[in-house]
C-alpha cells in the first residue's frame, strides 16, 4: 500500500518539477519581458551584453535541468525500491526538494542585477497610472467563485452530519470517524484562502504599457481574467473533488479508489495551472508590440527575483516573477504576517514528516486495501 502512496506522490512530483522548469527557464528568456525576474532592457540585446545574458541564461537553465532531472530520477528510483519508512520519507521530502529548482533562478537574478550595474543601467523611478482605468478593470465574476465554495461549505456540513451520525447513508460506515469532516474541511480551508487571494488579484494595480488607455485596460483585463479563471476552475475542481471523494468514501469505500480520486484531482489542478501559464505567455506575446512605456525599474526590490520587499509601495499583492499568480509585498505589515505563516507551515510540514518517520507513524500498511 505504501508503494501506491509513493507512486501517487511520484506522479505529482514529476509533472510539478517539469512545469517549474519550463515556466521558470524558457529556452529563449531574452524574448520575455522578464529574464530571471529582472526586467528586460534594450542594453541586454547589444554586443557583449547579449552574449553575457545568453551565457547566464544557459548556465542557469543547465543547473535547473540538472536539479529537475535529479528530482525526477530520484522519484522514479524511490518508487521502484522496496517500500520502507525511509523511501516514504525520502519521497515526501522530494516534494519539498521542488523548491531547489528556484535556486538557479535566484542565481540568474543576482547575476543579471550585477550585469545591470556593469552596464550602467540607471534605476528609473517612473510609475505610470492610467486615470481612466483605476478601479474599473476587473476580470473576476465573484458569484462564480463564491458558488463552488458555498457548495463546499454545504458538503462540509453534510459530511459533519454523516460523521456525527445525524444522517445515516449506510448501516455501518467503514471509514474512520471524522474522516469525511476532515477531508471536506481541508477543501473548505483552501476555499477560504482562494476567495480573498482572488479578490486581491482582481483588485491589483493595472499595468500601464501604452499611452492608449484602451490597450492598458485590455491588457490588464486579459491578465486579471486569466487569474480569475484559474481561481474559479480551482474552486469548481475542489467542489467536485469533495463530492466525488465523499461518494468514494461512503459508498464504494476502497482505499485504491480514494487514492486514485486524489491523484485525478492533482492532475486536473496541474492541467489547469498549465493552461493558465500558457495563456499568460500568450497575453505577454500579444501585447509585446503594444508596450511603449518604460516600466518602473523595481528589480532591486525583488530578492532573488522571487520575494518582493518594497517599503515605498503600499500595495500588498503584486504579480509574481517566478511561476504563475501573485505574491505579497513583504514590507507590508500583512505581507509579513502571511510570509511568517507560510514559513511556519513549510517548516512545520517538514518537521512533522520527519517526526512521523522517526516515531513510525509513516507506516501506511494499515490502510484498507482489497489486495
Amino acid at each position: 500500500m505504501t508503494w501506491l502512496v509513493n507512486l501517487i506522490l511520484a506522479i505529482c512530483i514529476i509533472p510539478s518539477a517539469l512545469i517549474m522548469f519550463f515556466i521558470g527557464f524558457p529556452k529563449e528568456p531574452e524574448k520575455r519581458k522578464m529574464i530571471f525576474g529582472v526586467r528586460d532592457n534594450p542594453k541586454f540585446h547589444e554586443g557583449d551584453a547579449a552574449k553575457r545574458v545568453k551565457e547566464i541564461a544557459g548556465e542557469c537553465r543547465k543547473g535547473a535541468l540538472m536539479i529537475t532531472v535529479f528530482i525526477c530520477v530520484a522519484t522514479v528510483i524511490l518508487v521502484f525500491l522496496p517500500s520502507t519508512t525511509i523511501t516514504s520519507l525520502a519521497i515526501m521530502l522530494l516534494v519539498f526538494a521542488l523548491f531547489l529548482i528556484a535556486i538557479p533562478f535566484g542565481k540568474g537574478n543576482t547575476e543579471l542585477k550585477s550585469l545591470k550595474k556593469e552596464l550602467g543601467i540607471t534605476k528609473s523611478g517612473t510609475v505610470y497610472a492610467d486615470l481612466k482605468n483605476t478601479n474599473v478593470v476587473h476580470g473576476l465574476k465573484m458569484p462564480l467563485l463564491i458558488l463552488p465554495n458555498a457548495l463546499i461549505l454545504l458538503e462540509s456540513v453534510f459530511a459533519m452530519l454523516v460523521d456525527f451520525g445525524v444522517i445515516r447513508i449506510t448501516e455501518t460506515l467503514a471509514i474512520e470517524k471524522y474522516s469525511l469532516t476532515m477531508m471536506s474541511l481541508s477543501f473548505l480551508f483552501i476555499g477560504v484562502i482562494i476567495v480573498p487571494v482572488a479578490y486581491l488579484m482582481d483588485n491589483m494595480r493595472n499595468t500601464v504599457i501604452s499611452k492608449d488607455s484602451n490597450i492598458n485596460a485590455n491588457y490588464s483585463r486579459a491578465k486579471k481574467k486569466c487569474w480569475a479563471d484559474l481561481f474559479i476552475a480551482m474552486s469548481w475542481t475542489n467542489a467536485l473533488a469533495v463530492a466525488v471523494l465523499m461518494v468514494l468514501y461512503m459508498l464504494i469505500y476502497n482505499d485504491i479508489a480514494v487514492l486514485a480520486g486524489v491523484l485525478a484531482y492533482t492532475l486536473v489542478l496541474m492541467v489547469i495551472v498549465l493552461i493558465v501559464a500558457k495563456d499568460q505567455i500568450a497575453i505577454e506575446k500579444r501585447y509585446a508590440r503594444d508596450t511603449e512605456l518604460e516600466l518602473l525599474d523595481d528589480d532591486d526590490c525583488w530578492i532573488l527575483g522571487m520575494f518582493y520587499y518594497n517599503p515605498n509601495d503600499t500595495r500588498l499583492n503584486v504579480e509574481k516573477r517566478f511561476g504563475v499568480g501573485g505574491t505579497v509585498n513583504i514590507a507590508h505589515p500583512a505581507g509579513k504576517v502571511i510570509m511568517i505563516i507560510i514559513a511556519i507551515l513549510l517548516i512545520g510540514s517538514i518537521g512533522f514528516i520527519i517526526w512521523a518517520a522517526v516515531t513510525g507513524n509513516l507506516d501506511m500498511t494499515s490502510i484498507n486495501t482489497p489486495f
Binding site: 517612473t126 510609475v127 497610472a129 492610467d130 486615470l131 483605476t134 478601479n135 483588485n203 488607455s213
Partner: protein, 119 residues
C-alpha cells in the same frame, strides 16, 4: 489619461499629480465634468499613500480645477474660473524658464514658437 510619477524628482509626488491633472485639463485630455478616480483607487494605482492623493485633490479643489462631493467623488469642473491673469508664482516660474532659455541660447522666436505649441 496617463499620469507619470518620477520617484526621484525633487518635485513632491502630490505636486507632480496636480501638475499633470492641470495639464490634462488644459490639453482637453480631461474634459469638464469628467470623473476622476477615487482617492483610494488612485493611491492604489500609483502605490502611494491615500493622504498624498487626498492632498492633491484638496489642492486642485482649492484652485478651482475640480469639485468634490460625497456622492460623485471628484470631477473636473465644467467652468473653470478664468481670472485672465497669471499667478505671481507662475510668473516667477516663467521668468526662470525664459532666463534659462536665454542662457542656453534659445532665441525669442523659438521660445514663442514653443509657447504657441503648448498653448
Amino acid at each position: 489619461m496617463i499620469i507619470r510619477i518620477d520617484e526621484y524628482s525633487d518635485v513632491p509626488i502630490y505636486m507632480q499629480i496636480r501638475n499633470q491633472i492641470v495639464m490634462g485639463i488644459s490639453s482637453g485630455e480631461l474634459k469638464g465634468g469628467e470623473q476622476l478616480p477615487t482617492v483610494r483607487a488612485l493611491a492604489l494605482e500609483i502605490g502611494i499613500n491615500t493622504m498624498t492623493v487626498s492632498k492633491t485633490y484638496q489642492l486642485l479643489k482649492s484652485e478651482g480645477y475640480i469639485m468634490t462631493d460625497r456622492k460623485n467623488g471628484a470631477r473636473v469642473r465644467e467652468n473653470i474660473a478664468q481670472s485672465g491673469e497669471m499667478s505671481e508664482e507662475n510668473k516667477t516660474e516663467l521668468k526662470r524658464i525664459v532666463s534659462e532659455a536665454r542662457l542656453s541660447g534659445v532665441s525669442k522666436t523659438e521660445l514663442k514658437k514653443l509657447i504657441d505649441e503648448f498653448y
